[in-house]
Each structure stands twice: as C-alpha cells, then as structure tokens.
Amino acid sequence: MLKQHLPILLVIVPLITAPLIVLLRRPLLSWMAAMLASVVTLIIAIPLLQQAVDQGVISYAIGTWPAPLGIEYRVDAANAFVALIVALMAVFVMPYCRTGIAAEVRSEEHYLFYAMMMLCLAGLLGILLTGDAFNLFVFLEISSLATYVLIAMGRDRRALVASYQYLLMGTIGATLYVIGIGLLYLQTGTLNLADLAQRLPVMGDVRATLAALAFITVGISLKIALFPLHLWLPNAYAYSPSAVSAFLAATATKVSIYVLMRYFFTIFGETVVFDARYTGTLLLALSLAAMFIPAVVAIFQKDVKRLLAYSSVSQIGYITLGISLSSVGGLTAAVAHLFNHALTKGGMFLILGGVVLRYGGASLERMAGLGRTMPIAAFAFVLGGLSLIGIPGTAGFISKWYLVTAAMEEGQWWLAGAVMLSSLLAVIYVWRFVEVAYFREPPEGSPSRGEAPLSMLLPGLAMIAACLWFGLDATWSGSMARAAAEALAGAWK
C-alpha cells in the first residue's frame, strides 16, 4: 500500500520537516528532526530505485488527478538514481552539521539552517521526481531560495555577496527556464513532460521549439555552472558553511545536470537537439573549455575551498562532455561521473570543513604541515584528490573509463587525449596541496591541533572510503549508470 506512494513520500518528508523544525526551534531538536528526515528519505529512495529498475517507468498521479490534467510524478532508473545520490549525501552531511554548524552559524539561527537544508533537499528531490515542467520550476525555486539563505549563513561577510551573486544568476536562470517552458506550452498546450515528449517530435522543426530549447538550455546551464556560466559557483562554495559547500557540491549542480539530460534526450529528443543543430558541437566546445580553463585557474588558487570549487567546474565539464557525445555510452559516463564526483567532492569538502574548524580558514598557507598536525584528514584529502585525478582504484577512474571508452566508440579518438591532458592539470592542483601539507613545517608557534571531532571526521572518511570502494567495485554503480542512461535515452513509456 505504502509502496505505491513512495514517489510523493520522498518529497513530502523533507518538505513537512522544514516547518516542523521552525516550530521546534531548539538546535538539538531541529538537528534530530533533520537527521531523522534525511534517514527516512534515504530509506524511501532505496526501494524506489529498486522499483524503478524492475518496473521501468513509475507514474504517480498527485491527488489521483490523472495526467495531463493533474501533476504527475514520473520515476525511472535515471531520476531515482540521482535521487538516491541526493538522499545519500544528506545522510552523510547531517551528522556532520551538528558540530560543523555550531562553529559557523549563530545558535539562535540553527533551526533556520536545518529548515533550509530540508527545503533544499525537498526542492532537489522534487525537481528530480516531478513529471511536470512547471512543477519542476517551482521546486527549482524552492531549492534555490533555500540555497541562497544557506550560503548567506557563512561566517565570512563575503558570504552575503556570494549569496547575492548566486541569487542574481540563479534568478536569471530560472527566468530563462520559465520563458522556455512558456514557449513549449504555447505550442503544445501541455506542461506534462511525458506529454511534451510525445507532441514535440510531431511538431517537426519549428522555430519556437528551437527558441524554447535555447532558453531552457541556457537557463539550466546557469544552474549547472557550465563554463562560462559558472561565475557564481566559486564564491558560493568558498564562503558558505562547510556542510553547505559539501552538500551543494555533491547535489545541486548534479540535479540540474539531470534536468538538462532529461530535456535533451527524453523531451526534445536526440534528433531535435543534436542532429543538424550546433547544440552538440557547442556543448562539446564548452565542456572542453570547462575541462581546461577552470582547472588551470584552480592551480593558482590560494584558498583550498576555491580550489575545489574551480575543480568542480572543471569536473562538470567531464559530465557535459559525456552528454555531448549523445550516445548511451556517453550518458552512462555522465551519470557515472555524477555519482562518483558527488562522493569525491562531497567527501573532500567535509574533510576540509574539519580542517577549517581547527585552523580557522581554508587558505593554502594555513595547511602547511597538515600531514603532521592532522594526519588522517590530510591523507583522506589526498585520497579524494587521487579520485579527482582518476587514479585507478578510486571512483574517479571509473568515470574516466566510461567517458574515454564512450568517446572512442563514437570515433572521437582525440577526445581521449583531451581528457587525459586535463587530468594532468588535476595532478598539479592536487599536488600543490600535497607539497604544502607534507613538505612545509607547521607555522611557528601554532599550538598542536589534533584531528577534527569524530562527528565531523567520520562522515568525511566514510565518503572517501565509499569513493575508494566504488573505485574498486563499480559493478553496482556502473550498472545503475547504464540503466539510468538507457532510461534517459528511451522514450519514457
């Protein structure tokens, strides 16, 4: 009985928890509520994915109003997999928040923090599951607004500017998206995604479709932080509280990438998007630029959080490169990297958060001698770095395997070289940290600071461990990525 309501429950649980937290108010109670809700979300997400893989598409009519009149939730292997990633990240990040946030956010604002986290989670899950273009926009705004608040809670005053920057860019993105779906609605008279997917190909090559595609692509690309629309991202990641950086890096951009894939492959359809249009070439060019330019910028960062942020922009390039190949192999690579990079970057941000707590900042200078003062954190961070490079035995290697073989199968042999060269840039920015952490003496007179508290260290270590595990045994993640790719490329019936 309950089983058929899983899609809506996944969104409802965090959505209801948010106002509940506002009522609870007490920091400890708010945290417990948020923690509980995250765990429940994960417990729902697992059988939902199982169901989606077994059954194909699950359609859920909200309030039993049938689509296309009512709002439909439409779950398949692709969005259920991404939803699982999001829920998983929430469960990793929440235990960390208890101590992590205490140092960074004033205690009377804690309940707001957790409420916003829940809204953000609900919004992200809603974006994933909904089968309605406008409902998607609503959830996009819910998650974005919550994110703006979360970023602004960073203790550095520059967090406000970062939040404001993101607010401007995010709003522009959302607006462009709405214009896009408005155009689609004008033509087809429907906002149901599955309906759109059926009607659009019949309309043929219409200029309005093309315009809608352009608006939606640019709008969503802003949220993805696809180069060169990434300018909001480094500040947002650098100045927000560490837990927020980790959660956003692992989920927010990933969800937007899912939306882009859904629109490209399921709704507009490969033929409209890629054949006889420059979309594929453009996406390829931007992905390549993303793989190289932000990676070079990352090398010159003085702040490790910013370094990771630019690295994220660069890694997003790998994902969009997979999309631009417009093959099942390419999509598999994109989804696999979405998962692997979420684990890697999430883990690295969590570890880094512990360091920031002890050292009061994330500038590379302060990391001198970290290998001696915080040996576990430093080593775990390096392991995460190896995954960014794509060393075999880490999750990052699996992504690279799929991406490069997909490019080769499409006959794009030269792309293999581009991917490899950009990994060399990752070697450089990761090794800057290694040399500072292991070859410099800890600054004079600094008291010997131990590792971060266990509640902060363990979630980070767990993610890094997962990142190694899924690098050595990717049979599950690999087959899920393949199933998700096939679901995206399929006709959604």
């Binding site: 075999p392 199968e409 050595l472 049979t475 393949r482």
Partner: protein, 501 residues
C-alpha cells in the same frame, strides 16, 4: 585451487607486513624483524608457486569485480613468476641492507620508510601476477604513488623538486599514453586479458598498431625509454636502499616487465612481426642505450652514473623484446633477472661507500678498494655483469640478445650492443681501477666539504660498511656469479614466455 590461494597469500603477505610494520614503529628491532619475516614468508610463497607454473599450470584468482565489463584478477604465468621471484627474493637481501644503511646513516622517519617499502613490494607482486591489463595498470599506478614518499624521504627542497619530476613523468606518461592505449585496446579488442599470441592480433591494422605501440612504449614510463627517462636520475635523491631495490629492480623492472608482457600477450610478437608496426622501437631503444651510456660516462656522481647505466640497461630489454624473435624474448626475460642482481650489487656498494666513507663522487674513490675490499670486489662483479663479461650473469643475457640481433640480421642492434659494451667498460672499469690501483687522495679538503653532516665518526680512516650491508652486497654479488653458472630455472621460465611452452 591451491594455486589461487597461493596468489591470494602472495598479495596479502606484504599488506599484512605493511600494517604490522606501521604498528611496531615504536620498537625498531621488532619492526625490522617484521620486515624480514614478511620478506622471507613472501619469497617462500612465490617460490612454492614456481614448480606448478614452470610445469605449465596457470593459477588464477579473481580479486574484485571492478567494472561490470572487466574485473581485477591475478594469473601466474612464467614471466610474472620470474619478476615476482626477483622482487621478493631481493627484498630479503635489501631489507638486511636497509637495516644497516638506515641505522648507519641515522636516517629519520624509518617506520614510514619500511612501510612504503613493503607497499612497493606489494605493488610489484600485483604487477607481476596481474591477470589483465587493467589489474597491471592499477598496481602500476599504485607503485608510483607508494614510492613517492620514498623519493621525498629527506624532505628537502631538492628532494621535493626531484620528486616532482619523478611523479610528473611517471604519472604523466601513464595517464596520457598508457591509459589511453589501454582504453583503446579495450575498445578495439573487447578484452584486456593477457593471451598468448596477443589480443590485438587481427583486430587492428598496421598504422593503428604502430600508434598503440607508441602509446604503450612511452606510456610505460618506468621502462625509461628516452625521452621519458628523466625521472630515474631524479629518483636518486632517495636513500640508497630505495635506489637499489626500487630504482634498479622493482620499479624499473616493473616497467620493462610490462613492456615484454604487452608485446607478448597484448600485441603478440608474431602479429607485430607480420605488421612491422614495432620496427621503430629498436631504434629508439638503441638510441637510449647509447645516449644514456654517454651521459653515464660523463657523470661524476656515482649514483647518477649508475642511474644512467640503468636507463641504458633497461633499453636492452626493450630492444630485445622488440626484435620479436623467440630467442630475443628469452634474452629480454633473462636480462630482467641478470641486470637485477648486478645493478642491485652496484647500488649496494655505492651505499656502502656513502655510509662508511661519505663519498658520493667517482673522483673521490681513489684507493678506496684497500679500505673496503669486500665492497669494491662486489662492485667489480656487478660492473662485469653490466659490461657483459663472464663470469657474470650479464654475459648470458647479452649472449642471447646478441644472437637474436644477428639471427634476425638487425645490424643496427648488433652495432648498438657492441658500442654499448665498450661504453659500459669505459664508465665502469675506471672506477674499479681507481679503487684498487690509485693512491688515496689526501683527505683534508673532503672533510671540509662534508663538514655539515654532523657525523661523529672520522671518515679519514674508515673501514668497511656495517656488516648487514657487506653481507647483502656479498650475497647479491655471489648471485650474479651463480646466475652465470646455473641459470636453468630462469631459462625455463624465459623459454615458456617465448615459445608458449
């Protein structure tokens, strides 16, 4: 069944050793006891596998299902058996030597040193028994990373800069060339298994094969084919036991081992012969042999000279393997063994000289043979092996390689081998001559030069190095001679590689 258990044991032993060493850091004697025990157990395990593999068995072990398409797995085959035996056997001797060296020189961070050493041996065994290219690549990269802390052991700026070259070249080549080559192989052949006759045979044309060949030859940077050889002299900044076991044996042999393995089991020697796609490799290898020898000739620093000699000797293996005749493959496999025992002896001697006399330059070695006769006799035997003279192991392998070059009428290779023999004699014999026949130089100005060391022993009237070091180099020198007299077990494995039984 028992074979796969043995493989699991071979991989697990150094790992267990690594953990125990890191736990016993407080008590150096216990720690070194653990290292030695681990090394002995490991060697016994590898040796126990020899009989089966030489008789034709190919035990397998599935490690992890890494990807839905390809898994990590181990397979024992003759070439891997050979490399596994060399790496684990010399680890015992080198551990004894390390104990003397690290204590004699009062090195810091000894626990980290022994931990990483065990890690490097773990990676070497993984490479030796890798059942497919993916597994080999995994352990290959692991080896680069685990040896990095050994290269940077002293933590100085010089060490840091050298380690940058080390990591940059090894990781750069392996990611940009080797990984690309491996993935292309996967896409083209649909498998990464090692098979007799090669998996690319009949799948790719001549040009494609040549491109893949280049990706593999330069991608396996550990084989130090020019122009990607710079990491090896850079690695000499590490303590000498590292240079001896890792940068004369385990790491570099992992490189040439991979090259032979790729040629025999991925490309297939016959396939390459038919396509002619590997014809250019002997030229590059030949160039490397001669050029590195010339650099060695001019190097005054002893370890640098030995490093360039290694670069040159590694290309012997590459050259032999790419001559593609069965007899040349035998020569390549033999040379892996012969060079290992010879070069480790040379490095051991260099380390003994440094520990006892604090001398690092060739020009300082006048008359040192009288004070350190054991060391310099061992050095002389090692040198004979490098030149390829009897009664040293190097003669045997050079014999095979030279016969292969003649029988395939590859006159360039013949010329290179002759020239290199002369060059080797040119940079090794003067050292031996200096050590035994020249009067020692007055000591005073050397003491000034090395005043910063802060060691209390007086270098002027030093004797031999600490006994564990002397013991180690005596054993390897004896092995060098022994391998000349009795090389049947090695030859048996080498034949199996070349002929497929």
């Amino acid at each position: 069944m028992s074979g796969s258990m043995a493989l699991a044991g071979i991989l697990a032993t150094p790992l267990v050793g690594l953990i125990l060493v890191s736990l016993s850091g407080r008590s150096p004697n216990l720690r070194e006891g653990v290292t030695l025990t681990t090394a002995l157990v490991l060697f016994a395990q590898v040796l126990a596998l020899y009989g089966d593999v030489a008789a034709g068995a190919r035990p397998e072990l599935l490690l992890l299902p890494m990807l839905p398409e390809v898994s990590l797995q181990l397979t024992a085959e003759p070439l891997g058996m050979l490399f596994g035996l060399i790496a684990s056997g010399l680890w015992i001797i080198s551990s004894i030597y390390s104990i003397g060296y690290m204590r004699g020189n009062k090195e810091g961070n000894q626990t980290r040193f022994f931990v990483c050493f065990a890690g490097a041996i773990f990676a070497a065994q993984g490479i030796a028994f890798a059942g497919n290219m993916l597994t080999l690549f995994l352990f290959y990269e692991a080896m680069t990373l685990i040896t990095y802390p050994l290269v940077t052991h002293h933590g100085t700026d010089h060490a840091k800069k050298s380690a940058r070259i080390y990591l940059g070249v090894l990781m750069g080549t392996s990611i940009v060339f080797l990984l690309t080559g491996m993935l292309a192989t996967w896409v083209l052949a649909g498998t990464l298994d090692f098979r007799q006759g090669g998996i690319l045979a009949g799948q790719v044309g001549a040009t494609g094969t040549a491109v893949l060949m280049a990706l593999y030859m330069f991608g396996i940077g550990k084989a130090a084919l020019m122009p990607f050889h710079r990491w090896l002299p850079a690695a000499m900044v590490a303590p000498t036991p590292v240079s001896a076991l890792l940068h004369a044996v385990a790491v570099v042999k992992a490189g040439v081992f991979s090259i032979v393995k790729v040629i025999v089991y991925v490309f297939g020697a016959e396939n390459l012969m038919n396509l002619g796609s590997a014809d250019w490799v002997p030229l590059i290898a030949g160039y490397t042999i001669v050029a590195a020898s010339i650099v060695a000739l001019r190097a005054d620093n002893l370890k640098r000279r030995l490093a360039y000699s290694t670069v040159s000797q590694l290309s012997y293996v590459t050259l032999a393997a790419t001559l593609l005749a069965p007899i040349s493959i035998i020569g390549a496999a033999m040379h892996i063994a012969a060079h290992a025992v010879g070069k480790i002896t040379l490095f051991f001697a260099a380390g003994s000289i440094y520990t006892a006399a604090h001398k690092t330059e060739v020009s300082q070695l006048d008359g040192i043979g009288r004070k350190m006769p054991w060391t310099m006799v061992a050095f002389a035997i090692g040198a004979l092996s490098m030149i390829g003279l009897p009664p040293a192991a190097g003669f045997i392998s050079k014999w095979y390689i030279l016969s292969a070059a003649m029988s395939t009428e590859h006159w360039i290779a013949v010329g290179v081998l002759v020239a290199s023999t002369l060059l080797n004699a040119g940079y090794f014999l003067p050292i031996v001559w200096r050590a035994f026949f020249r009067e020692p130089a007055p000591e005073a100005h050397h003491d000034d030069g090395h005043g910063g060391h802060g060691h209390d022993d007086h270098h002027g009237d030093h004797g031999e190095a600490p006994w564990p070091m002397v013991l180690a180099q005596t054993v390897t020198a004896s092995l060098t001679v022994l391998l000349f007299i009795y090389h049947e077990p090695v030859l048996r494995l080498a034949r199996a590689v070349a002929g497929g039984e």
